[in-house]
C-alpha cells in the first residue's frame, strides 16, 4: 500500500519528466535527496498524517465508484442540504492562514522589548523611592510618583508607536493578500450555480474554464483540450495536459487530477479548454494545503538588523546598568542615603537610555520600506529592509526574474547566414537585412503558418504588450511578424487558409495551405514549420537569395552547423519551408482533405531557420554587474535545461564572458572532464541530477570554490538545499521564488523574495519581500537602499548616543562634586523624545557618501551596526565635548544670577534642604528654597539649550562618516534642516511657551544663553572635520582604525 502512496515531495516529478524517462517507475528513488531534506522540516507525526491523507486513489476509481464514494451524482450534483452539511463538517474550502501571533502578545512584546525593561525598572524605583519617603514623612512630595508615571507612559507610548508601525506594514501585506473572492461554477440540485469557491465541498461537480484557477483538488470527469499550469505547485511552467484518463499510479502525476490553485490554461488545440470534475479535497486537505503547512514548519531566522539592534541594546543597557550600579555604590560609600542613591540610579538610567531611538529606527526603516515599495520592492517585514543590504548571495530564478518570461525571436538563419534579431523589451530595433527575397518568403511562412491571434479590443496597446491567444512560440512569431510586417491579420485575410494540420508531438510539424494574393498566379501556397531536422527531411531544395537551389550535402552541412550553433545558444529552433502547389494539379476549386493528405508533403523548399529564446530583461546585465561590484554572488537556480540556463547566464553576466566551466575547458583542450584541473574553472553549471547525489560537503565545496554558479534542472525543493549550503558559507542569502514549493526555501533564506506577478500566495506569504515587477534589477535597487539604511542607521544611532553622555555627566558631577542638579529627568525625556526625534529621522534621508555598491557586503559578525569606534567616538569624544559646552551654559546662568562656580561645589545638600530659606550666594544675597528651585529649573533649561545647540552641530557632522560635510553638501538633504528647525522651535516652545508650567521645570531663558554653547558647537564641527580629514588622508592608519565608525 505504501508504494502507492508517494511522498508529497515528489510533486515536482512532472517538471523533470523528460530528462529522467528511464526511471519513471521509481518515483521514490529519484527524489531521495529531496525527501530526506524535507523530512527534517517536519515532525515525525506530521509525516504519518500526511501519508495517511495522501492515500489518494480517486484517480483509479471509475465515475460510478466516485459517485458512490462521495455520495454525489455526476449529472445532478450534490443537493444543497448535503453540501451545507459537508461544509459544516469540513469547513470552508480555503487555506488556513499561517498562525498569527495574537495582537495582544505582539503589543506586550513591544512593552517589554528593548529598553523598555530598563525604563520599567526606573519607574518602579521611582515608586519605591516614594514609598520610602512616604513611610518616613507622610507629606512627601509626589514628584517621584509623577516621574515613575512619566517613565511608564514613555514606555507605553513608544510601545504603542512601534506596534502601530508594525501593524501598518503588516497591513500593506494583508491588503495584498486579499484578492477578489474566487467564484466557482458548480452543479447542485441539477442546476448550474456560481458560488464562492470557499463554499465548495467534496463531491461537488465543478466546471472550470480556461484561464480559471482550479478551485479545489478535483478529479477530472471530462475535459476538452485542457492543459494546466502547475507552476504554482511545482515551479515548472510547462503546461500539462489533463483528461479523464487514469495514466499514472501516482496521484500527483496522473492526468485526471487537477490541483487546487493551479491554473487551467487556454489550450492551443481548442479555443477554450474546459474541465468538468469532482471535488475530492478541499481547503487544507489539498496538496497545496499540505505544502503550505510544511512551509510554516521552517523557522523564521532572526534578521541581521534585529541582531544588530539587540547587540546595540545590550551595549547601551550594559553601559547604563554598570554606570548606574557603579555610582550607586559610590553614592552609598559617599554616605548618601539609600533613597538619594536610588534617585541617582533613576537619573542615570534615564540619561543613558535613548528612549526615542527604537521608535526612530522603526520610522527610518518604514521610510525606506516606502521608498523601496516605490521601486517595486514591497517589504513585508520592516527589518528585511536592511537584510537586503547585507545580502552576499542572491539565488535567483531565471524565468521572469532574469528573463522577460516570453519567447522572443532571437536569431534567424537564411541565405546561409545567421541574423540577430532585437530581443529588447520593445523589439524596436530590427536591424537584420530584410531586402533578401528569401526573407520575403520566410516572413510569409511565419505569418501564415501560425494559429496565434491577438485578443480583440487592444488597438491602442503596444504590440509587445498585446495579449495573444496561442502558445509561447506562436505568440513570439506573431509579434515578431506584426512588428516587422505590420498588420498580420490583414495579410492572413488576403491569403485565406484553406486547410491546416495543427502541430502535434508525433508529426512535430505544423502545416497550412493558403490561397495567395499574388494576382498573376492563382496557386495555392503550402507553408510548414516544425522541428528543423523534420522539416529538412521533407525538403529537396533550399532557397538562397530568393532562388531555389537543390539541397546537396554541403548546404545540408551549413544547415546543421547553423542549427547546432543556435541550439548551443540554448534557443528553441524552428525550421520553415514552403511549396507553391502547381495550379494545374491543384485548381482553385480543389478540395484539400487533411485526413487523406491529398497533397504533397515532401520535396518542399527549405527557406530558413528561426530561433527563439526567453530573452534576458534588458536591465538585468547591468544589475548583475552592479551586484558583482557590490561583492554579491549571483547564483542562478532554474528548472530549465542546462544549455539554456548557461546561455542566459552568459548573456546576463552571471557567467562572465571569459570564464569557463570544467566542461568548457575539457571541450577546448579536448580532454576528458575528469582530467581538468577544477581550479582553472571559474564557473560551474550544476544540474539537479548531480546535486541530488552530492553530499553537503561537496555542495559546500562548489559554493565556496566557484565564483559563478548556475543550478539547472533543479526542483524547487532543491532550492532549499542550495540555500542551506549558502548559509553554511556564512552568507546572507536572498532567494527569489514564485511557486508554492519555493516557500520552504523562501522562509529558510535570510530574505525570501516572492514574485509579485508570477508568485503564488503561498510564496508571498513565506517571503519577506515581494518584488512587484518580478524584475531582478529591482532587487539590486533594494540592495542599494538596504545598504544606505544601514549606513544611515549608524549615523542616527551615533547622533542619538552622543547626547547621552551630556545627559549622564550632570548626574555624575552632581553625585561627586555636589553641584545643584544641572538637568532634570523630565528635561532629559524632552530631549530624547522631543527635540531629537525629527533630526534623527532626518538622517535617514541622507544620500550615500560614496558608491555603496562598490564595496563588499558587510560581514554579519564583524561589521556591526554599533561598533567600538562608534560608541567611543560618540561617548568619549563628541559626547564629552557636548557635556562641557552644556556645563558652560549652566555655570554661566548660575554665575550671572549670583552663584559663582566655586560656591556651587558641595552646595547640593544645603541647596536641597526645604527649611533652609536663607541660603547665601557669592554676593551675600539670601535665597529661599523656592527661589533656588526656580534657579535650578533655569539651570535645567540652560543645560537643555546647551545640549540642543550642540546637537545641531552633532546632526550636521553625522551627515557623513568619512567625507567632509562640504563634499556631501550642507544643504542637499533638506530634511536635515527641517529637523534643525523643528529642534529649535520645540526648544523655544518649551522654554518660552511652557516656561510657566511648573511640572515641566522649564523657565524662560534669556536669549543670550542660547549662544553660549555656540563656540562649542563650532568646535565639535571643526574637530569632526579634522577627524574625517585624517581618515581620508591616511586610510588604514591608526587614526582610521580608531576613529572611523
Amino acid at each position: 500500500m505504501h508504494q502507492k502512496t508517494p511522498e508529497i515531495y515528489s510533486v515536482e516529478l512532472s517538471g523533470t519528466k523528460d530528462i529522467v524517462k528511464t526511471d519513471k517507475g521509481d518515483g521514490k528513488e529519484k527524489y531521495r535527496g529531496l525527501k530526506n531534506n524535507c523530512l527534517e522540516l517536519k515532525k515525525k507525526n506530521h509525516k504519518e498524517e500526511f501519508q495517511k491523507e495522501l492515500h489518494l486513489d480517486d484517480h483509479k476509481l471509475s465515475n460510478r465508484e466516485l459517485e458512490e464514494k462521495y455520495g454525489t451524482d455526476i449529472i445532478m450534483g450534490l443537493s444543497s442540504t448535503r453540501a451545507a452539511e459537508l461544509l459544516a463538517r469540513d469547513g470552508p474550502n480555503s487555506l488556513t492562514p499561517p498562525k498569527q501571533t495574537p495582537e495582544i502578545v505582539k503589543f506586550l512584546k513591544q512593552m517589554v522589548g528593548g529598553f523598555s525593561i530598563l525604563l520599567w525598572v526606573g519607574a518602579f524605583l521611582c515608586w519605591i523611592a516614594y514609598g520610602i519617603q512616604y513611610s518616613s514623612d507622610k507629606s512627601a512630595s509626589l514628584n517621584n510618583v509623577y516621574l515613575g508615571c512619566v517613565l511608564g507612559l514613555v514606555v507605553i507610548l513608544t510601545g504603542i508607536f512601534a506596534y502601530y508601525q508594525e501593524a501598518k506594514s503588516t497591513n500593506i501585506m494583508s491588503s495584498f493578500n486579499k484578492m477578489i473572492p474566487q467564484q466557482a461554477l458548480v452543479i447542485r440540485d441539477s442546476e448550474k450555480k456560481t458560488i464562492p469557491s470557499e463554499q465548495l465541498v467534496v463531491g461537488d461537480i465543478v466546471e472550470v474554464k480556461g484561464g480559471d484557477q482550479i478551485p479545489a483538488d478535483i478529479r477530472v470527469l471530462s475535459s476538452q483540450g485542457c492543459r494546466v499550469d502547475n507552476s504554482s505547485l511545482t515551479g515548472e511552467s510547462e503546461p500539462q495536459p489533463r483528461s479523464s484518463e487514469f495514466t499514472h499510479e501516482n496521484p500527483l502525476e496522473t492526468k485526471n487530477i487537477c490541483f487546487y490553485s493551479t491554473t487551467c490554461l487556454e489550450a492551443s488545440t481548442s479555443p477554450v479548454g474546459t474541465v468538468t470534475g469532482m471535488v475530492i479535497n478541499t481547503g487544507d486537505r489539498t496538496i497545496i494545503g499540505h505544502i503550505a503547512s510544511l512551509a510554516s514548519g521552517v523557522g523564521n531566522e532572526k534578521t541581521p538588523i534585529a541582531i544588530e539592534i539587540e547587540h546595540f541594546v545590550h551595549i547601551v543597557a550594559g553601559v547604563a546598568v554598570s554606570i548606574g550600579i557603579l555610582f550607586f555604590i559610590i553614592a552609598v560609600s559617599l554616605k548618601y542615603q539609600v533613597l538619594d542613591s536610588i534617585i541617582f540610579l533613576i537619573g542615570i538610567i534615564v540619561a543613558n537610555v535613548p528612549e526615542g531611538l527604537l521608535a526612530t529606527v522603526t520610522v527610518t526603516l518604514s521610510l525606506t520600506a516606502k521608498r523601496m515599495a516605490k521601486k517595486n520592492c514591497l517589504v513585508k517585514n520592516l527589518e528585511a529592509v536592511e537584510t537586503l543590504g547585507s545580502t552576499s548571495i542572491i539565488c535567483s530564478d531565471k524565468t521572469g526574474t532574469l528573463t522577460q518570461n516570453r519567447m522572443t525571436v532571437a536569431h534567424l538563419w537564411f541565405d546561409n547566414q545567421i541574423f540577430v534579431a532585437d530581443t529588447s523589451e520593445d523589439h524596436s530595433n530590427q536591424v537584420f537585412d530584410q531586402s533578401s527575397r528569401t526573407w520575403a518568403s520566410l516572413s510569409k511562412i511565419i505569418t501564415l503558418c501560425n494559429r496565434a491571434e491577438f485578443k480583440p479590443g487592444q488597438e491602442n496597446v503596444p504590440i509587445m504588450k498585446k495579449a495573444v491567444i496561442g502558445d509561447a512560440s506562436e505568440t513570439a512569431l506573431l509579434k515578431f511578424s506584426e512588428v516587422i510586417l505590420g498588420d498580420v491579420m490583414e495579410i492572413r485575410k488576403r491569403n485565406r487558409k484553406v486547410a491546416e494540420i495543427p502541430f502535434n508531438s508525433t508529426n512535430k510539424f505544423q502545416l497550412s495551405i493558403h490561397e495567395t494574393d499574388d494576382p498573376h498566379g492563382k496557386r495555392f501556397l503550402m507553408v510548414m514549420k516544425g522541428a528543423p531536422e523534420r522539416i529538412l527531411e521533407k525538403c529537396s531544395t533550399i532557397m538562397i537569395n530568393g532562388e531555389e537551389h537543390p539541397l546537396d550535402k554541403s548546404t545540408a552541412k551549413t544547415f546543421h552547423t547553423a542549427y547546432m550553433e543556435l541550439g548551443g545558444l540554448g534557443e528553441r529552433v524552428l525550421g520553415f519551408c514552403h511549396l507553391y502547389l502547381p495550379a494545374d494539379e491543384f485548381p482553385e476549386t480543389y478540395s484539400f482533405d487533411i485526413d487523406a493528405m491529398n497533397f504533397p508533403t515532401s520535396n518542399l523548399c527549405f527557406v530558413g531557420l528561426l530561433s527563439m529564446i526567453d530573452p534576458p530583461r534588458s536591465t538585468v546585465p547591468d544589475a548583475v554587474t552592479k551586484c558583482r561590484s557590490a561583492g554579491i554572488k549571483v547564483i542562478m537556480v532554474t528548472g530549465d535545461h542546462p544549455i539554456t540556463a548557461k546561455a542566459i547566464a552568459k548573456s546576463v553576466g552571471i557567467i562572465s564572458a571569459n570564464s569557463e566551466t570544467v566542461e568548457d575547458i575539457a571541450h577546448r583542450l579536448n580532454i576528458a572532464v575528469e582530467q581538468v584541473n577544477k581550479r582553472d574553472a571559474k564557473a560551474a553549471v550544476v544540474t539537479g541530477m548531480e546535486l541530488k547525489d552530492m553530499s553537503s560537503e561537496q555542495l559546500d565545496e562548489i559554493l565556496a570554490n566557484y565564483q559563478e554558479i548556475v543550478f539547472a534542472r533543479t526542483s524547487p525543493q532543491q532550492k532549499l538545499i542550495i540555500v542551506e549550503g549558502c548559509q553554511r558559507q556564512d552568507a546572507v542569502v536572498a532567494v527569489t521564488g514564485d511557486g508554492v514549493n519555493d516557500s520552504p526555501a523562501l522562509k529558510k533564506a535570510d530574505i525570501g523574495i516572492a514574485m509579485g506577478i508570477a508568485g503564488s500566495d503561498a510564496a508571498k506569504n513565506a517571503a519577506d519581500m515581494v518584488l512587484l515587477d518580478d524584475n531582478f534589477a529591482s532587487i539590486v535597487t533594494g540592495v542599494e537602499e538596504g545598504r544606505l539604511i544601514f549606513d544611515n542607521l549608524k549615523k542616527t544611532i551615533a547622533y542619538t548616543l552622543t547626547k547621552n553622555i551630556a545627559e549622564l555627566c550632570p548626574f555624575l558631577i552632581y553625585i561627586i562634586v555636589g553641584l545643584p542638579l544641572p538637568i532634570g529627568t523630565i528635561t532629559i525625556l524632552f530631549i530624547d523624545l522631543g527635540t531629537d526625534i525629527i533630526p534623527s529621522i532626518a538622517l535617514a534621508y541622507e544620500k550615500a557618501e560614496s558608491d555603496i555598491m562598490n564595496r563588499k557586503p558587510r560581514h554579519k559578525n564583524k561589521d556591526r551596526l554599533v561598533n567600538q569606534p562608534l560608541a567611543v567616538y560618540s561617548y568619549l569624544h563628541i559626547g564629552l565635548m557636548q557635556a562641557l559646552g552644556a556645563f558652560l551654559v549652566y555655570f554661566t546662568v548660575y554665575a550671572q544670577e549670583g552663584f559663582l562656580p566655586r560656591t556651587l561645589i558641595n552646595l547640593r545638600v544645603e541647596w536641597e534642604k526645604d527649611y533652609v530659606n536663607d541660603l547665601e550666594d557669592s554676593y551675600g544675597q539670601e535665597w529661599t528654597r523656592y527661589q533656588r528651585e526656580y534657579l535650578e529649573w533655569t539651570g535645567y533649561t540652560a543645560f537643555f539649550v546647551g545640549i540642543l545647540v550642540q546637537q545641531i552641530a552633532d546632526l550636521i557632522i553625522r551627515k557623513t562618516r568619512r567625507n567632509s560635510i562640504f563634499q556631501q553638501g550642507l544643504f542637499r538633504n533638506k530634511v536635515i534642516w527641517v529637523g534643525i528647525t523643528s529642534q529649535i522651535i520645540i526648544g523655544l516652545i518649551l522654554s518660552y511657551g511652557l516656561g510657566s508650567v511648573t511640572a515641566l521645570s522649564f523657565t524662560m531663558l534669556r536669549a543670550q544663553y542660547w549662544f553660549v554653547a555656540v563656540p562649542h558647537a563650532i568646535l565639535i564641527w571643526a574637530y569632526d572635520e579634522v577627524r574625517k580629514l585624517f581618515i581620508r588622508l591616511y586610510p588604514g592608519s591608526w587614526w582610521d582604525k580608531n576613529m572611523y565608525y
Partner: protein
C-alpha cells in the same frame, strides 16, 4: 544540551582569557602595548586640550561678571523671611521650661547669631538717620548700627535664656538680604498666633518695625559689616498652659514691593513656625 552549554562556557572562558592577554600577538585587552600607549597618549592630549579649553571658556565667562554685584537679580525680586534659632529639620521648636537642656541648643544658636550684634562688634558702625533709605555713592560703603536693645526682652542682654526658662521663648525673624532692594512705604513684620487660646505674641521692636536706613544693601564685598535689621517674636505660654503648641505666622506688611503672598513660595515675605512647650 548541557554538554553544548558547558562547551560554550569553556569556549567563552577561553575567549575571555585570550582577550585579556593574547600571548601570540602580545595583545592585552585587545590591544598591543604600543596601541595602548598611543590610545593613552591620544586621550591625554585630547582631554588636556578639552580641559584647557573648558577652563579658558569659563575664565572668559567669569570676566563678564562684576565682583560686587551679580549681573542679574531678577530671580530674587522680593526677600524671604527666615527664623532663628536655626531649625534642624523643620520649622518646629520644642522645649520644656523645667529642663534647661531642652533649649540649650536654641540659646546657643541665638547667641551665635547675635554675636555680630553685640555693642563690641558694632562700635565701628555708623549711626544712620532713622526712617529713610540710606543710599550711598561709595567708593566706601558704611554699615548702620542695629542697637540690639531694640529687641528688648529678646535681646539677650537682660535675660541670657531668651525667655525660654520662663516659658516665653524668643524667636528672631530676619529678612533675606537682597542687593539693591529698596522697600517702599513703612515695612514691618507682623506676627500672629494661629491658636486662639494662646494669642499672646509680642513683637520687638515695637510693632515689628523695620527701619529703612538698613536699605539698600550693597553686597558682601562693598558693604562690609552690614547688619540686617531683626525682629524678635516672643510667645508667652501661661504656666498652666504646658504641653501646648502654637503656630505663629510672620509676614511682611506695610510695603508695596515686598511680597508676602506667593502660592508657591511659602517663605517669600512670610514664615510660619511651630513652638511646642512641654511640661
Amino acid at each position: 544540551m548541557t554538554k553544548n552549554e558547558e562547551k560554550s562556557l569553556n569556549q567563552s572562558l577561553a575567549e575571555w582569557k585570550l582577550f585579556t592577554y593574547n600571548p601570540t600577538t602580545g595583545e592585552f585587552l585587545g590591544r598591543t602595548a604600543k596601541s595602548w600607549g598611543l590610545i593613552l597618549l591620544f586621550y591625554l592630549v585630547f582631554y588636556g586640550f578639552l580641559a584647557a579649553l573648558f577652563s579658558f571658556t569659563m575664565w572668559v565667562m567669569l570676566q563678564t561678571l562684576n565682583d560686587e554685584v551679580p549681573k542679574y537679580r531678577d530671580q530674587i525680586p522680593s526677600p524671604g523671611l527666615m527664623v532663628f534659632p536655626k531649625p534642624v529639620t523643620a520649622l518646629e521648636y520644642t522645649f520644656s521650661r523645667s529642663d534647661p537642656t531642652s533649649y540649650a541648643g536654641y540659646i546657643e544658636d541665638l547667641k551665635k547669631f547675635l554675636k555680630p550684634y553685640t555693642l563690641e562688634e558694632q562700635k565701628n558702625l555708623t549711626v544712620c538717620p532713622d526712617g529713610a533709605l540710606f543710599e550711598q555713592k561709595g567708593p566706601v560703603y558704611v554699615a548702620c548700627q542695629f542697637p540690639i536693645s531694640l529687641l528688648q526682652a529678646c535681646s539677650g542682654m537682660n535675660d541670657p535664656d531668651f525667655g525660654y526658662s520662663q516659658g516665653n521663648p524668643c524667636i528672631l525673624v530676619k529678612m533675606n538680604r537682597i542687593i539693591g532692594l529698596k522697600p517702599e512705604g513703612v515695612p514691618r513684620i507682623d506676627c500672629v498666633s494661629k491658636n486662639e487660646d494662646i494669642p499672646n505674641v509680642a513683637v520687638y521692636p515695637h510693632n515689628g518695625m523695620i527701619d529703612l536706613k538698613y536699605f539698600p544693601y550693597y553686597g558682601k564685598k562693598l558693604h562690609v559689616g552690614y547688619l540686617q535689621p531683626l525682629v524678635a517674636v516672643q510667645v508667652s505660654f501661661a504656666p498652666n498652659n504646658t504641653g501646648k503648641e502654637v503656630t505663629v505666622e510672620c509676614k511682611i506688611d506695610g510695603s508695596a514691593n515686598l511680597k508676602s503672598q506667593d502660592d508657591r513660595d511659602k517663605f517669600l515675605g512670610r514664615v510660619m513656625f511651630k513652638i511646642t512647650a512641654r511640661a
